[in-house]
């Protein structure tokens, strides 16, 4: 290294940096290809539409798809109004000050709390204190706590990206503040807000630690939100960890990864179009 002159060292470092970056991307591609190679052949109509039988050894994963959907709907139903309300308040109603700093700090800390702690919290409050037991409702609420910071942040950024003139034009026409927000600001910020919600769906699909302590892992088809249910990710975890069925585990993993990839990529595309519009 010392023997090389500066340009030589630069070339060496560039090669090294590209090898490391290449291997990182290689790891990602390998993970996706490996899971798809083993899992996609398992994906048949029966796999998707039949309920699990014999602890998940046979049948399909329909009940876990339904449980996952329930959890996502419950979590978003709670987190969206809270997150959007927070974002509107932070961007449209206050100036930077102690209060906004406090709210932002709280949001950032909440974002940093690991899912196992949220699982403990959800268990202590929803399952035990509220007496809802292991249920989709408890799981959905615990999940909404995890999603809230992301929704606040993406909504805030998208509302801030709406040009100030839009609001001024509305005000100059005599439109009130709240009507300006609902009729002008929010529709313009919608793609960005939607991105946040879509990313939240992807995170919910892959989450396990929060859900396993709050929604439980019952394999029965959930008939109401007060019953326990097993999401796809929890199902995959149990299948793989207890060695119940490798083909079923691979199939479930392939569905998980496929959904998450498609969702994340579409969220990215929506966001890019949104940014392009305003810059």
């Amino acid at each position: 290294m010392i023997l090389l002159n500066a340009p030589g060292r630069q070339t060496l470092m560039k090669i090294l940096l590209w090898i490391l970056t290449g291997s990182t991307i290689g790891i990602l591609i390998f993970i996706i290809v490996f899971i798809f190679y083993h899992g996609l052949p398992q994906l048949t109509w029966t796999f998707l539409s039949a309920n699990p039988a014999d602890m998940g050894r046979s049948g399909g994963i329909f009940a876990t798809i339904v449980s996952t959907l329930y959890l996502i709907i419950i979590a978003l139903a709670f987190a969206t109004p809270l997150g959007l309300g927070t974002a509107i308040y932070l961007t449209e109603y206050t100036h930077e000050g102690l209060m906004t700093r406090l709210i932002r700090f709280g949001t950032e800390c909440l974002a940093g709390i690991p899912s196992i702690i949220l699982g403990l919290f959800g268990f202590a409050i929803f399952v035990m204190a509220f007496g809802w037991g292991w249920s989709l409702l408890s799981g959905g609420l615990a999940l909404s706590v995890m999603l809230l910071p992301t929704i606040i942040r993406t909504s805030e950024e998208s509302i801030l990206a709406v040009p100030q003139e839009y609001r001024e034009v509305a005000y100059s026409l005599g439109v009130g503040k709240w009507r300006t927000i609902t009729l002008v600001v929010l529709p313009s910020a919608l793609p960005g807000i939607a991105t946040g919600l879509v990313l939240s769906i992807a995170r919910s699909i892959g989450e396990t630690a929060v859900i396993i302590f709050t929604a439980g892992s019952s394999l029965r088809f959930p008939n109401s939100i007060f019953e326990s249910g097993r999401t796809m990710a929890v199902h995959f975890y149990i299948l793989a960890r207890e060695g119940i069925s490798m083909p079923m585990a691979y199939g479930t993993a392939a569905i998980l990864v496929l959904l998450i990839l498609v969702i994340n990529m579409s969220a990215y595309l929506i966001m890019r179009r949104f940014i392009k519009k305003y810059t």
Binding site: A6, I35, F105, G106, P114, I117, F236, Y268
Partner: protein, 278 residues
Amino acid sequence: MREKIIEKILMILAFSAIGLLLLITIFIFREGLPVILKVGLSDFLFSDQWAPTNGHFGILSMIISSLAVTVMAIILGVPLSLACAITLAEFCPRRWLLILKPTIELLAGIPSVVFGFLGVILLVPLIRDYLGGPGLSLLASSIILAIMILPTITSISIDALQAVPLLYKEGALAMGATHWQAVWYVLLPAARSGVVTAIILGMARAIGETMAVIMVAGNALKIPTSLLDPVRTLTSTIALEMGYSSGDHRTALFAAGIVLFIFIMGLNILANTLMRKK
């Protein structure tokens, strides 16, 4: 009048995040403190006797395991993450950056159970066959965690590098430095606080990760003496025992949660103040 009511409602909503944070703190402490008070703080933190059914609640081996796994993940993950960040921010065409950055961020979307699963079927046998030991080990968990925290560190570091005024780099280049010298001697030191923040947030993610670690760490309850030893972290103990615990045992798991919570909040506050200083 209507406007005033709406503003009040929004203000209440805006405090939801901080309210939830308080609620989480209160509930975790309320559930966990009794056992710490019962056995005493020092016996809880500094004893490695964990036999909850016999009234032994020492979490020292888990604290050490959690820290060891996190430190190793940082040692393995930071060079790789920084290499990615430097390459993307400095040595690649802008059009590539727009594709490669979200690609690396996709890695953050892969569920932790999938990471754990791949660790068990691919990495653990490799370690067992070539390095010895049971394979399920401190090393296996650190490698998996290093990959899992990479997107966090890379993404924040890219932002930090790009936030350095262009003048710094141009100044260095004008003085005859090579592009690499400008990056190493000027850009990186200038972006230091951002990069350190990225590493701290990566640490917080590593120490809090549960499902992937449970699957590859081996979960043996002892203080690890080698990289090939199986370990059991704070998070895995909570997740493994929560299902069947009751009484003091359950309280002790919440108490382990308090310790984890304090670690995480410390790291978050540190990252936050570093960010603000900039």
